[in-house]
Subunit: 250 residues, 2 copies
């Protein structure tokens, strides 16, 4: 059997400790190559840079940075840097959760979406903790799930979004396969003023309201479980399609 | 009945002709307020700006620009600019298609995703044409679909992604409710060199391969139909969830 080729990326930038911990964890499973943004790209979602050329810098033998988004990194890694299509993509470890509706904004998860578009088994890892972040337990779990993803099939056209509770190995309750919960922000915009007294808006903060039930990603993490959610590329509401055909007569 | 409040946005910027055509089209249906990016934001996906404050500029009575992404515009409009939650959100008209996997990168569609997160009926409009763009027929269809969206229910937690074929009103074959197709790019990265001879990569171009069958968005537009796809917030692969619970014993 040939040595697995593993692409390691993230959205926090190539120097992020979470990325280093993830790279170290999967290095025992094959050839692990880092291709990551040269700076923080949090909340860039699935943004793709098409209005300027991108520069790749080799920082070490198996480490490259790109002056672009996580999605840019994945597509350039696959098409231009790696010798062949990788056998696995791992993204993270993100310092902070990627749960519920927040998945949609996440650069960490979007890198895994891009990998899935190329039919590469892709895993996104996030640690639902507050600073200071300790990635040791998450890295051990990442090794376990990455080795499983190399031997088992993932659900078709889907990635796995993995969120870790902020607990020690002994405190973790186990693993739960979950569905995406719903998150509702209220008043998550602060008002601030520039030096000339002009009002500006700063998105962030506010109170978070979760809903969606016991089987969601958020509830699993809250209850001390590792949450593993299969996220699919197909965004179609298939039930909604039947409803529209029945009710929306044009 | 109170006058409907309609939020109009896009990803190409507040001065885009497609936005103006859409605003004019829906103005007869209620109070239509433009809150749009101050510059082109194509392919920014669902990116949210959290690392700096955002400035809102009022350009005319019902027209505001934001120095941020389409998602920023929607959340600031709802929370800070509009007098109440709007009854409808329309995004576009995008010059160029938003079909299949490309939806994931689209700022036009992401604005409608953000609206859907706030439970606002949201429609994204794109014209699958080449320059020069003539938005007249699309604007007429936008008026029709926006008036329907004000009186009919949309599928729950879903937006409608609408793509127009590049045809005259008489040539259009009708409307089709479709599912999202799959798009595969190959070699969609060009190599270029900076003035110092260093290689750079420019994402774009390449050959496009479509697959996914007759009932997809891409096939509908190709066959001269207006494509209407219900896109949902829930990204969970529910079948994949059952498979993981059965097969991935940890």
């Amino acid at each position: 059997m040939k040595t697995p080729l593993i692409l390691v990326t993230n959205d926090d930038g190539v120097y992020s400790p979470g990325l280093r911990a993830l790279h170290e964890a999967v290095s025992s499973l094959g050839t692990a190559v880092i291709v990551a943004p040269d700076r923080d790209n949090s909340a860039v979602s699935h943004a793709l840079t098409m209005n300027r050329p991108l520069r790749v810098t080799q920082l070490a033998e198996q480490t490259y940075s790109v002056d672009g988004t996580p999605t840019d990194c994945v597509t350039i890694a696959i098409n231009k840097i790696l010798p062949r299509k990788p056998d696995l993509l791992v993204s993270g470890i993100n310092p902070g959760a990627n749960l519920g509706d927040d998945i949609s904004y996440s650069g960490t998860v979007s890198a895994a979406i891009e990998g899935t578009m190329y039919d590469i088994p892709s895993l996104a890892f996030s640690l639902a903790s507050q600073p200071p972040y300790d990635f040791e337990v998450t890295a051990a779990v990442a090794w376990k799930l990455a080795s499983m993803a190399l031997s088992m099939h993932l659900p078709p056209s889907s990635l796995l979004n993995i969120n870790m509770p902020p607990l020690s190995a002994g405190e973790i309750q186990g693993i739960r396969f979950t569905r995406q919960g719903r998150r509702l922000y209220r008043d998550a915009i602060q008002e601030t003023f520039d030096p000339w007294g002009r009002k500006h808006y700063w998105i962030g903060g506010g109170t978070v309201h979760w809903y969606g039930g016991e089987d969601t990603d958020e509830q699993a993490v809250r209850n001390g479980f590792i949450s593993v959610t299969p996220i699919q590329l197909d965004l179609t509401n298939h039930e909604g399609l039947a409803y529209l055909e029945r009710q929306w007569k044009m």
